[in-house]
């Protein structure tokens, strides 16, 4: 089997996908979080500034999901097929809210009527909250395992995705995104909105710490299989420790009003938590609660070595380009938001 840096291709692609989803969480996380907090801003001008803080970048952020989804489809078609068809309803709801959110951003400021803007503000915020929760719900189900049967087909009831653990992970995701979004907006705003956001950021991080503790507790008590890897390889314990330290650092930075650093640490937290998830699962990608034999792993789900090799080449050429123009866009729109005639 071909290897690169001592890792086989499926493992490398597993890391690529992990990197993409972590990039997606960091980027779309802040605009979903900003959306989740939207209704806390009462003044029309505050809402427009908050919307325009994410205005030029939300679309580019969402592209990371398209790319990450495509990379999953390409590298592990069996995972893609089993996960998406097995969780049909949550993914359809995800699409529903994704479209509603895009419509809301696009159309909100196009009319001046109060009811019009209020309606789109509500749908923007509700959609942002729902998307954050749904992302967490899917992650929760991946962690706890789903009823995968022969041929990788889901054989459970369609409502099973709404189990307590998945919902708890969903709420935790919402809390983390809200913190992340508040910190992003703090870098982009001034005056009263800024003052309000510094309170919201404080509440959001407390909300996150509470829900995250519950998830951790639940995992340790009810889902022991997730901790096996750490028992086998104790040195990996450094990763969750780092994640906890990173989380603990966020309220410290918020109280010192170092919001930019706080934002960096909420981003680091997301990456580290996803690394924890990756460590817990690897090499399994979809855990079957029916029989271990039906587990979908990176090896029985991977595309051929040839295909993975091509895609690794594409990724190696493309990634520097993507990072370069993402950086260019964020640099162009650096600094506090100013409304002009091109704004939403």
């Amino acid at each position: 089997m071909a290897t690169l840096f001592g890792l086989d291709y499926p493992t490398l692609w597993f890391l690529v996908i992990g990197g993409l989803f972590s990039g997606y969480a960091i980027l779309d996380g802040f605009d979903l979080g900003a959306g989740a907090l939207h209704l806390f801003f009462k003044k029309e001008k505050s809402r427009r500034i908050a919307l325009n803080a994410v205005g030029p970048v939300w679309d580019g952020n969402e592209v990371w999901l398209v790319i990450a989804g495509g990379a999953l489809f390409a590298g592990f078609p069996v995972v893609y097929a089993s996960l998406f068809s097995g969780m049909y309803i949550p993914f359809m709801l995800f699409l529903l809210f994704l479209i509603f959110r895009a419509i809301s951003i696009e159309f909100r400021s196009k009319e001046e009527m109060k009811w019009w803007r209020k309606m789109w503000d509500i749908s923007y915020s509700v959609a942002s909250i729902a998307l954050s929760v749904l992302l967490g719900v899917v992650l929760g189900n991946v962690l706890i395992g789903i009823e995968i049967g022969p041929q990788g087909n889901f054989q459970g009831h369609w409502l099973e995705f709404l189990n307590p653990y998945a919902l708890l992970v969903g709420v935790t995701t919402l809390a983390l995104f809200s913190t992340h979004g508040a910190l992003y907006l703090l870098m982009k705003t001034e005056g009263r909105l800024y003052a309000k956001l510094s309170i919201l950021a404080r509440r959001a991080i407390i909300f996150f710490i509470v829900t995250f503790s519950l998830v951790t507790l639940y995992t340790l008590i009810y889902i022991p299989h997730l901790t096996d890897r750490f028992k086998d390889l104790p040195w990996l314990f450094i990763v969750p420790v780092l994640a906890f330290l990173s989380i603990a650092n966020i309220p410290r930075l918020i109280s010192r009003r170092r919001f930019r650093d706080g934002f960096i640490f909420s981003a680091i937290t997301m990456s580290l938590l996803l690394v924890v998830v990756a460590i817990e699962l690897y090499p399994v990608m979809l855990l079957s609660t029916v029989d271990e034999a039906y587990n979908i792993t990176i090896y029985n789900a991977a595309s051929s070595e040839k295909s993975l090799g091509i895609m690794l080449t594409i990724a190696a050429i493309g990634t520097p380009l993507v990072l370069a123009y993402t950086a260019f866009v964020f640099w162009t729109f650096r600094g506090k938001v100013e409304l002009d005639e091109t704004s939403y």
């Binding site: 592209v63 398209v66 998406f84 049909y88 359809m92 479209i99 493309g318 123009y325």
Partner: protein, 459 residues
Amino acid sequence: MDVEILSRIQFAFTVAFHYIYPPLSIGLGLIMVALEGQYLRTGNKEYHVLAKFWTKIFALTFGIGVATGIVMEFEFGTNWATYSRYVGDVFGSALAAEGIFAFALESGFLGVLLFGWNRVSPRVHFIATLGVWLGSMFSAVWIVVANSWQQTPAGFHVVGEGLDARAEITDFWAMVFNPSSVERLVHVWLGAFLAGAFLVLSVHAYYLLRNRHVELSKKAFKIALIVATIVSLGQLVAGHASADGVAENQPAKLAALEGHFEANAPADMYLMGWVDKESQQVTGIPIPGGLSFLLHFDFNEPVTGLNAFPIEDQPPALNAIFQFYHFMVAFGMLMIGLTLYASFQWWRGKLFKQRWLLWVFVFAVLLPNLANQFGWFAAEMGRQPWVVYGLLRTSDALSASVQANQVLFSLIMFFLIYALLFALFIYMLNKKIKHGPSEDQLLDHRSRHEEMAEAAGKF
């Protein structure tokens, strides 16, 4: 209704709705590049104003295109799991390339294109516009490559059997340049240019008729007319090449396009007609031996007909395929006639003096858009009963774990949300057109600060 038909309706509906927008974006992108290029070249502010105006419309089509585009990617997994497992290995690299080379490019620069007018220099802005346009063009490349692979699979081998069978890539470039991808890509690109150019023609014809933005509209109309004339003629060549390819690679589809039943006989070409599947008769206006001539330059050369294939390998919806195809061709011909006539009038110096012609252009925007839709319907329905031609049947490609009522739920959901989306799109488009280009910039030379203050006051 069963899962198969519901899933097919859902995919067809969501992809057809989506496909209203990307061609407009690609076509408008081309016009915007031309307008900004003209501005940089001549320094004439009018082009700048026009570029800004069309960027606003572009933002609308692009935004809806993105929001509705992700739906199909998800549907591969949710509704067509067996298909996803089958094609993932081959499809994957095309999709990954699309994501990383195309989407990231267009969405990255989109922010600068839409919101960067006051933040970057005109030259950098032009580069951003070019980036977004090229991104949308690349996006078409990879999607058409993937779809063409389903029509004419190449560069792969099949491993496993029965439910475990799947295609594995053996030659990336053979997959990319599969027998139909180049001709179909050109056909799709040109169709998109026409959609954009005819929208510009339509809107500016309307302004001219209403005596608004007259000088601007004449400039924009002429640029769009040049594009539309050249491209509609080019489409004749590209369309012909595409049909030649179908004849060679997918004979059953070609036979369905012209309603040609006899297994091995000279084939007629119909200007219009009605296909009766039971009696194997086409009623209409034929050019005897026309199809034989088009393919072989000989009216008597036999062409493989539907009866040469077992019934289970024939496309089922024969009349629909025939109609979609013929309307597409007819609309293409109308566009050629219309743009040539208008160019001739321009040459005579009478282009803007004939109000009826301008009225025709106001409504002609429907021609390329319907032709694009109909062409895809003919292409995809003509591929049936296969999802991957000759390899995987559509009925075998479904998700085993999804039930009909779930698909019915999502189908109704998409109907409702897309109805709302379409209503909003038409409403906003109408509003932006009514508002028109902001010519204030041309009238006086106030400082940017004053302009911004005024704009801020409006909200």
